[in-house]
Symmetry: C2
Subunit: 356 residues, 2 copies
Amino acid sequence: MVIVSETMTTARTDGGPERVVVLAHEKFPDRAKTATGVLKYADYDIVAVLDRDNPGTSAADHRDDLPDVPIVASMDDAPEADALLIGIAPIGGGFDETWRDDVRTAIERECDVISGLHYFLNDDEEFAALASEQGVELNDVRKPHEDLSVAQGKAAEVDADIVLTVGTDCSVGKMTVSLELVEAARERGIDAGFIPTGQTGIMISGWGNPIDRVISDFTAGAVEEMILEVGDDYDVLFVEGQGSITHPAYSAVTCGILHGAMPDALVLCHVAGREHIHGYDSFDISPISKYVDLYESLSEPVHESSVVAGALNTSHIDDDSEARAAVESYADELGAPATDIVRFDADEILDAVVED
Amino acid sequence: MVIVSETMTTARTDGGPERVVVLAHEKFPDRAKTATGVLKYADYDIVAVLDRDNPGTSAADHRDDLPDVPIVASMDDAPEADALLIGIAPIGGGFDETWRDDVRTAIERECDVISGLHYFLNDDEEFAALASEQGVELNDVRKPHEDLSVAQGKAAEVDADIVLTVGTDCSVGKMTVSLELVEAARERGIDAGFIPTGQTGIMISGWGNPIDRVISDFTAGAVEEMILEVGDDYDVLFVEGQGSITHPAYSAVTCGILHGAMPDALVLCHVAGREHIHGYDSFDISPISKYVDLYESLSEPVHESSVVAGALNTSHIDDDSEARAAVESYADELGAPATDIVRFDADEILDAVVED
C-alpha cells in the first residue's frame, strides 16, 4: 500500500507521470473540478479526457480557460499515456462501476492509476491483482498518512502570513482561487506557497494531507502539520479551504481547517446566484453577511482573523458587464473588495491580502 | 479484527463482561472520566480500579458519587475478573508503556481487554499474539464501522426531539449531563434515549459510533446514522456532545456533531472557574455569551436551535452555598436556567428541555 505524499513526491523527483489521461465521464467540465483543475494547473501533459458524452470535441471547446486537449469516449480510444487519473468525485467518493472498463484497460496498457476517491483502488481485488500483474501503481491520493496527530494550536507561529480560502458551499472555487493567488503573488515577487487539502490540490502540488479523509480528531492537526512543515520557507501561504461552515455534511472539515490553519486573513469564495447548498437543495445558502460573521466569530477564540476579500465565480454569466455587476454587488454584501479571479484578475484580492 | 458495536451488542445479548477491572493509573478519579463514567453508569460490576498512586483505598474515598470499589496497584493484585477496561485516555489517545504489564497479565489471566484508545490493541503485535493464544478478545471500542457515509441532513426528521450537550471545553461533563438527563427524564415517565459519541458512552451503552475516530468527511453522517436508527423509538434523544467549538484541536468534531444531530435544544456544559482550554493553556475559555452566540449562529443555517439551559460542574467547590452561587452566576451569564446536575438535581435543565 502506497502512502500518497511519498508516492507523489517520489514521482516528482524521478520525473513522475508525463502523459496523463483524465477520466471525467458525463460530468465534464462543470462537475469535474479535479479534471479541470489538473488541466489548468498541473505540470505534466494531459493527452486526453475521457467523456463518453463528448467524444470528438476538445476541452477548449467546452470552456475558454481550458487547454486544447482531445476528448475521447473511452480508454480504448486514448493516445499513448503512462497514467490514468480519475478526474471526477461523486458525492460520497464511491467508485462508479461504469468506469471499470476504462481502469482495467489502462492497467492492461501499463498505465498507473491516480485516484482521489474515498474508495481505494488498492482495496479493489480485481484492480489490485491486475496492477500487480502488470507492474503498475494504484495511487490512492486520498489515503492519509498514518502518523497524524491532534493540533497543538501552533500554526500561527510560522514566519509566513496565512491566507485561507473559505466558502459559502462546496465547489465554489476555493482551490482555484488559492492557486491563482499563489501565481499572482509570485508575479509580484512575493514568495508564496500553497497548502493543498484535497485530492486535486494534492495531485497538482505533489504533496499534502487529504483533510477530508483524516480521522476527525486530527482534522486541525493535519492542516497544522503542513503549515509547520513549510511555513518558515515562505512569506505567505495560501491554504486551500474545503466545504462550508454551513454545510450539513462537510462543516466539520471546514471548521477543522479554520482552527488548524490559524489564518491571518480569509477570502470568501462564492458562486454568483447560487441559492442552495449543492446536492442539498432543502438547505439555503445563507446571506453573505452571515458567512462573514460566522467565519470571523468562529476564528476569533483560536486566532483572530477577518474576511479581507471575496472571490466570486461568475463562469455561468455570459456577459462581462453582468459579471462585473455581480462582482460589485458581492463586494457590497461582503463589505470588502471582490473579483472573479479567473475571469478578471487577482489584483483586488491580492492587494487586500498583502495590505492586511 | 472486531468491529466495536457488533462486539458490544453481542456482548450485551450473551451476557457480556460481568466482572470488570478498570485501569486508571495516576489519573484517578479527576482525570479518569472513562473510569468514573463506567463506575457510575455501566450495568456490569466493577471489581477493582488499578491506580498505582492509591492502592488500599476505595473509589468512594476519592469522590462521594463513586461506589465502594477497591483500588489496587496492579493487575497482579486484582480479584477474579473477566475483562480489563482501559479507563483513562491521554491527549492523543496513545498507549502508555507503563500499562503493558497490566494488560499482559490480564490477557494471561484470560480477561478480555476493552480499550477506547486511538492506539488499537489489535494492532499491537505482542497483545494480538497473546490474545489469540489465550482465546480472549481485544475490543478496540474506538474503531469505527467501515460503512459510514456523509450526512444527508435528515436527523431532524425523526419523531424524537433532539437535545445535544455542548461545551466550553473538553472534559466539562457533557456525557455525564446527557446520561443524568436520560435518567431524570425516565423518572418523569418520558421515553428518553441516549446517543453515545465517545468511547466511554459506547462502553456504557453497548453501541454507538466513536465520532472522534471516523473519517472527517463522515463526522456529521456518523451522528445522523445513529439518530435515524433509533430516533423514531423515543420521545426525546439526548446526544452526547464532544469537545468545544472554540477548541484549537477538536472543534471539527464538535461542529460535525452539531450539524449532524440537528438538535432542537442545546445544553451548555462548563466547569465553574475554568479559564483556559484544558491542555492548551495559551487559549482562553471565551465569555459564556460567546458560546451561546457561536453555537446558536452556527446551528441556524442547518437547523435552528438554542441554548435552553446550562450545566455547571462545581465538583471542585467544597461549599454548597458557594456552588449555588456559581450556578446562579452561570445562569445569569447564560440567560437561561442552570444547575449542577450531579450535585443538585436535573429539574431546572429538564424543565427547560421539555418545555422547549
